[in-house]
């Protein structure tokens, strides 16, 4: 390992420590609210991350939004204007769980299946029609499938719009990856 590499590693560790001490999480009533708040904050250009909550506030199907603490008031104002307010803001004191960011593709010839976490979305490569959605265990999965299967990627509602749970959020990631791959 070169001297330069050692230096880089030390620098990255230090910066991640700084990051923890100046960040907080916004806790919402449910995952749908998190998804709405994420959209609002993304559109306004805030640098935020959707993460897993610390163990003491987990209930089973949760997401939180990690924010820079210094911007707390501005961010809360933005959310208030959009009508989506968090239940509370908690300073981050331990590492948060990272959502899955791995995608797996399976090529069936005429079809391609994209998997994100436990959700799989399959499209017809010629027509761009969503032909199947599988995996997952939260109750919005059958609903999302009902609303999306049989429609093209451009016509179908995105899981972000109509999903409510972590499985819905995972399907959103698979959907975005599919759109990205199909537009290449």
């Amino acid at each position: 390992m070169s001297f330069l590499n050692i230096f880089k590693r030390k620098e990255s560790k230090a910066s991640s420590g700084r990051q923890n001490s100046d960040r907080g999480i916004l806790v919402f009533e449910n995952t749908s609210e998190v998804i709405r708040a994420e959209s609002v904050l993304d559109e306004e250009g805030w640098k935020i991350r959707v993460m897993g909550p610390p163990p003491e506030i987990r209930s089973g199907c949760d997401l939180v939004i990690e924010i820079p603490l210094i911007e707390e008031l501005n961010i809360l104002r933005t959310l208030e204007k959009a009508g989506v307010q968090p239940l509370e803001m908690v300073p981050v004191s331990s590492p948060l769980l990272q959502p899955v960011n791995l995608f797996q593709n399976k090529d069936f010839g005429k079809y391609v299946m994209i998997r994100a976490a436990n959700m799989k979305l399959t499209v017809d490569k010629e027509t761009m029609k969503i032909v199947n959605i599988s995996g997952g265990g939260c109750p919005d999965v059958p609903y999302l499938a009902q609303e999306m299967v049989g429609k093209s990627l451009s016509e179908a509602p995105s899981p972000r719009e109509i999903g409510h749970t972590l499985c819905g959020y995972a399907l959103q990631l698979a959907y975005e990856e599919t759109v990205r791959k199909c537009s290449l």
């Binding site: 089973g60 199907c61 990272q98 899955v100 976490a117 436990n118 959605i133 999903g163």
Partner: protein, 303 residues
């Protein structure tokens, strides 16, 4: 009698409790109908088809509409906590149940624990099967060992194996990369107390395992397209539930069901665009074939 507990993707579907029928490809319970696309309706339909072959009563359903907001699931959880421990099956309670399969429900640890308390109050403890959202809650509660069977797919097995993940969405990358090493993940899930008495891991190859390791693998016929078909795993769980009701043990039910589901899939000649009802229609033929093969399984199983 065996019960299936889950949700349907219709916000207005009321809490319905009673015998479930499959009429012209539609699930009916207490006069309400829901199509069979995937999820709990697919599980119910597969269980009903299996019951028809076995000449036994259809499952008892506890079903409610929920599109992911969790409101329906909470109503159902509350109903279960109030009624599962009661004595008379005719009063829509659970104490006459031999087995309960918990399926698509909003994962909620607190409600999960309350339901498990209600089960413990039942006069006779039923065989407990958990899949989908309720399996996620069971794992997160730390009470996986209270269950007789979990039916995860490979991704969900990685979640069970990851002692820190509260939902498959947070399964750590280094564990997800182990997907092709199912035996190692099974072992890790048992080591951390995050597996039921038996696991049936659904995938290209199905694994039946317990704390002593892999008990059986089922890998034929292989239809690659099955992985893409929504509900193809739900049907497997439905077949197992009905086989257990017939008196077959959990391990053998899992093995027979895996074979039946694969064969039904094979008969459907599936593509990734196939819908699950096309597979369900072939369950009776596949089940008959496997029960009668070598002139033996049916006799041995139900002797």
């Amino acid at each position: 009698m065996f019960a299936i507990v889950g949700t349907v993707p219709d916000q207005d579907f009321p809490l319905a409790v009673g015998e479930v029928l499959l009429v012209n490809g539609v699930i009916r319970i207490e006069g309400k109908s829901v199509p069979v696309n995937r999820g709990t309706p697919a599980l119910l339909a597969a269980a009903i088809k299996t019951c028809e072959v076995l000449d036994q009563p259809a499952p008892f359903g506890y079903v409610v509409g929920d599109i992911g907001r969790g409101d329906g699931s909470r109503r159902l959880y509350e109903y279960l906590t109030r009624n599962l421990g009661k004595c008379d099956p005719q009063s829509k309670s659970g104490s006459g149940l031999n087995a309960i399969t918990f399926h698509y429900l909003q994962p909620d640890v607190d409600w999960h624990n309350r339901v498990l308390f209600a089960v413990e109050e039942m006069a006779k403890r039923p065989v407990l099967i958990a899949d989908a959202g309720f399996m996620y809650a069971a794992k997160m509660s730390g009470q996986s060992s209270e269950y007789d069977l979990f039916t995860p797919d490979a991704g969900e097995l990685a979640f069970l194996a990851d002692e820190e993940a509260p939902h498959p969405f947070y399964t750590r990358g280094f564990i997800l990369h182990e997907e092709n090493r199912v035996p190692k993940l099974i072992s890790r899930a048992y080591t951390n107390g995050n597996a039921a008495r038996y696991l049936l891991v659904k995938g290209k190859k199905d694994f039946v395992a317990n704390c002593n390791g892999i008990q059986a693998t089922i890998d034929s016929p292989l239809e690659e397209a099955m992985e893409a078909i929504g509900g193809a795993g739900d049907t497997l769980t439905g077949i197992i539930a009905a086989l257990i009701e017939a008196g077959i043990g959990v391990k053998e039910a899992a093995i027979v069901a895996a074979r039946v589901n694969r064969l039904a899939g094979h008969y459907a000649k599936p593509t990734p665009a196939t819908q699950v009802m096309e597979i369900i229609q072939h369950i009776p033929k596949a089940l008959e074939e496997i029960l009668n093969e070598n002139g033996g399984i049916r006799e041995k199983t139900f002797a």
